[in-house]
Symmetry: C2
Subunit: 246 residues, 2 copies
Amino acid sequence: MKFEPVAPVRAYERIVEQIEEAVVSGRLKPGERLPGERELMTQFGVGRSTVREALRVLQAAELIRSRPGDPRGPEVLAASPAALHRSMHRLARADHVGLAELLQFRMVLDGSAHLLAAQLRTDDDLSALDTALVAMRAGAKEGFEQFSHADVAFHETIARASRNPLLVVSAEVVRGVVLELIEDKLSHARDRSALMQSWLGHHAEVLEAVRAADGELAARLARRALYDNYAEYVPEEQRALLTPLL
Amino acid sequence: MKFEPVAPVRAYERIVEQIEEAVVSGRLKPGERLPGERELMTQFGVGRSTVREALRVLQAAELIRSRPGDPRGPEVLAASPAALHRSMHRLARADHVGLAELLQFRMVLDGSAHLLAAQLRTDDDLSALDTALVAMRAGAKEGFEQFSHADVAFHETIARASRNPLLVVSAEVVRGVVLELIEDKLSHARDRSALMQSWLGHHAEVLEAVRAADGELAARLARRALYDNYAEYVPEEQRALLTPLL
DNA sequence: GCAAGTACACTGGTCAGACCAGTAGCCTGA
DNA sequence: TCAGGCTACTGGTCTGACCAGTGTACTTGC
């Protein structure tokens, strides 16, 4: 005979559960409104502070948003990767997850995205990629920031062409965290224009592989590009984590 | 001239920022204690409800834990993937993500985990995998639930051997969500023992590839095993999403 | 009739004070 | 020495209050 350990369940947690269930199950759709706090406290039969703590938790999870003065009540938000981004960022800043692991993960995700994109891409995807690459060439002349924006757009186009929202979101999150970790080093990079030229070359190659529907090649090129551009910021003894992916 | 939009900053958010900064920067180490709520309200110069809402947010982010009655105050927790797990779970349950996408993502993650595990595995990893496989064989005789447990353990051992905590967590989360989506169908499966035998065969093959340090083979086998076992639950017209990974 | 402006009811954010169940650690008595 | 009880204090919850700010409906001016 085995018993489960029990933990006291706080009132606010029960409220969070109920509302979260209603949101993720789709019974409450994005844009819809929750009753106001005073109404919720009668519906749940608790005090306002309890209701508020529940709403705080839901708000921190990016499920709802409440603004003072709005008589329509708290708004149910569309699912967004913001919470995922935050928790991954926190985890990354904590120990156990360094740049090496992040970069490795990004090589995995980006590589797979390229693989899938190359095999599932439509003509629309290809032309979107063409324009993205053109924008990168233009951005390279204007400045590093514009170039970065265009670069991000290119990667997002690839991810979208993979037809997998989880891949899109994860890749986006990991890319963001990686960039945050090295943006200071990147901004001190000596020869930015050489950097941008190198990236442009990589991207053009990748695009050709995608156009040729050669998934393996596109994936390998993408991973290689990440390695070439970022490995120098990874401590030397950890680069062994990355090389198996090349 | 461009101005940034401003959002009013709530008092509790400032408190969250300060404490979070102290935690992630390492100024507050896991196991250490925060002052009690009444003490915090004097330090921050706010009311107790404000302090509590801040603590709720931090608690939802798995940064602290507070228990009533403990005179030492709220405890700072070690960084854990629990929050990441929750947010990814929520995102995956949200719409736009069906079984096909989940399975595709899982094939990507598991495949990469196997690839890395095969190339980075130590002898300890190999013996852990051996015992996991033995446990699966034993579990197959006892019942489906024991078998499932052992199967999960095998996958987790692989993931850990990949040396990437992000991969471990993501794979675990996606596996959990996939299982949630099809557990009812799985429990109605006609011939469970044949199912278990098939899985056992797949795992043994994979293990040999890992032992031989053949990453490509291990990855391909792992993806193929997932496809063979789960593709039947994916609507036919969406299986095209999965085949590029085989 | 309609647009601009205003008043108001109500929202969420915050505070103060209170009560309760439950805990950690001390303190007592054997 | 140690089991058992005591107590001061914890976090969880409730009530009631005030405020700045908002959306709506109404009024005003044209």
